[in-house]
């Protein structure tokens, strides 16, 4: 479903942050992405959600080469991807409810459905009482749950999560990981970037390891 071939990325005139990355992710698969800080996990994520174009190589998503798509087609492709950013990127002027509703508004869901879907999901992540609060008045863990809720609200085909449990205590972190498991069972392809070794061991999904801009799958060179 996702295929990178000989992908390289550099920022401006700097050195290649990612070099010659080739791999394939099957539909419905679940991968952890690990690597030291600064190894390029977030950069690889940004390529996966088409937030950047690679400086070399080809990327194909959902069977389409992204270089061949026009702007509107790329937008439609992005709508199938949910992202939990490492720094959340919640909008400070919107309530928790409106932050989570944002992707639904972008795809044009009617207000009535938005109200129901968002309330349900926020209650599920334990923020039913915080819907009308602004991000600045919420704790780091609560903000992170809003970020996760926003990423999954559209039931994306591909879910990308960059350190999604970094600020959460074990119990709620575990609960959210179970949500990811559920979404994965329903067919969502998932990539989770994390440093959390116990969690990776507990769930036991295949690991992609970034090292100095190169990608290894389970310690082996990626296909």
């Amino acid at each position: 479903m996702i295929e990178f071939s000989h992908v390289g990325l550099r920022y401006g005139g700097g050195p290649e942050v990612l070099s010659d990355i080739s791999f394939k992710l099957d539909a419905g698969s679940y991968h952890f992405l690990s690597g030291a800080s600064g190894a390029g996990k977030s950069s690889l994520m940004s390529l996966l959600y088409c937030g950047r174009k690679p400086t070399r190589g080809n990327i194909s998503m959902f069977g389409q080469g992204i270089m061949e798509l026009n702007r509107n087609q790329l937008a439609v492709l992005r709508q199938k991807i949910g992202v939990v950013f490492q720094d959340f990127r919640l909008l400070p002027n919107l309530t928790a409810f409106e932050n989570v509703a944002l992707p639904l508004r972008i795809i044009g869901q009617p207000d009535r459905e938005i109200k129901q879907n968002v309330s349900e999901l926020l209650s599920w992540v334990g923020l039913g009482d915080y819907m009308d609060m602004y991000p600045a008045t919420l704790s780091g863990g609560q903000q992170q749950r809003i970020a996760i809720a926003r990423a999954v609200i559209t039931r994306p085909r591909l879910l990308l999560a960059d350190e999604p449990t970094g600020n959460l205590d074990d119990e709620i972190g575990f609960k959210l990981m179970l949500l990811f498991e559920q979404l994965n069972k329903m067919g969502t392809t998932i990539v989770v970037a994390t440093h959390n070794i116990p969690m990776m061991e507990h769930f036991g999904h295949q690991r992609l390891v970034l090292e100095k801009g190169h990608l290894n799958m389970l310690g082996k060179k990626a296909a």
Partner: protein, 297 residues
């Protein structure tokens, strides 16, 4: 869409200035348009020379001597008689001094004062049967034979200089009008650009979430462009009130009230102008947003 807009609106309050600028520019634009139009109307009334019309001026001096006012009046009467029965002339009529003073009053001042203080030329409106140099020469020689000191001015240089003046003013109005357009365009462009800079993270987020460019542009339409629309509307209303007042209280002096409000070109133009200001703002907004979004992949 209400929730999403809240984010835009919360950050936009600092940009109220666009409302003021669009109101001001629309107001000035309408003022220029109206002035230009009145100049044009006045000019075509004063210089209402059909293609066969010439002006005959009775010279104020004969053989280096001033001609008395009574003698001048005599010449006007005599010349009118000759011309009316002249084979090359279709019609001839003296231009009354009062009428002349009235028509020139916007430039020279109150008609009563003009008539008494400024020596106005003695003119005859002459409609030729055909506009040929032979006919004109014939008329001139026949008047000379009757020893009337006169010359034919196909287009009166005295009025022509007025025409030049009013044309220069009309050109100035046009330039001012264009300046209003440009000022609004740059103000809108600057506002949109700074708004984009303030909200860049947010726009980038929309983009990553799969918002199409049109979706983002629409947010700007709903906020900034809506303000501009209110500005144009308010500016137009104020201009109409001011110009309406001007027309109503000054119409005896300068304009014909009835002729102005029933002039479809003028009224239509006054209605279209705010729309043109809005259209230029719309295009500018769109251009700025698209230009910035294109920097995203």
């Amino acid at each position: 869409m209400s929730g999403l807009n809240a984010s835009f609106r919360a950050r936009i309050s600092a940009q109220r200035m666009t409302l003021l600028i669009s109101a001001l520019m629309t107001f000035l634009g309408l003022l220029c348009f109206f002035s230009g139009w009145q100049l044009y109307t006045w000019q075509s009334n004063v210089l209402h020379t059909s293609s066969n019309m010439v002006v005959l001026e009775i010279l104020q001096q004969q053989n280096g001597q001033e001609i008395s006012s009574a003698a001048l009046n005599d010449y006007v009467t005599k010349a009118t008689q000759i011309l009316k029965s002249h084979p090359a002339v279709a019609n001839a009529a003296p231009v009354s001094q009062a009428e002349l003073a009235e028509e020139l009053s916007p430039v020279l001042g109150a008609p009563e004062m003009v008539q008494d203080t400024i020596p106005l030329p003695r003119l005859l409106q002459v409609e030729m049967k055909a506009m040929s140099p032979d006919y004109i020469a014939l008329v001139e020689s026949d008047l000379k034979a009757a020893s009337i000191p006169a010359k034919i001015i196909p287009s009166n240089p005295w009025l022509a200089s007025l025409k030049d003046l009013s044309q220069a003013l009309m050109f100035a109005m046009f330039i001012l009008e264009a300046m209003c357009f440009l000022a609004l365009m740059f103000a809108v462009g600057g506002t949109v650009q700074s708004q984009i800079a303030i909200q860049w993270d947010e726009l980038e987020l929309y983009h990553i979430m799969g918002a199409k460019d049109d979706f983002v542009i629409k947010q700007f339409y709903k906020t900034i462009l809506r303000q501009i629309a209110w500005g144009c509307f308010a500016g137009a209303i104020i201009a109409i009130i001011v110009l309406g007042g001007l027309l109503y209280f000054w119409h005896q002096r300068f304009f014909s009230y009835e002729a102005t409000i029933t002039n479809y070109g003028l009224v239509g133009g006054a209605l279209l102008l705010p729309l043109a200001f809005l259209a230029i703002s719309w295009l500018t907004t769109r251009h700025m947003v698209v230009k910035n979004l294109n920097t995203l992949p």
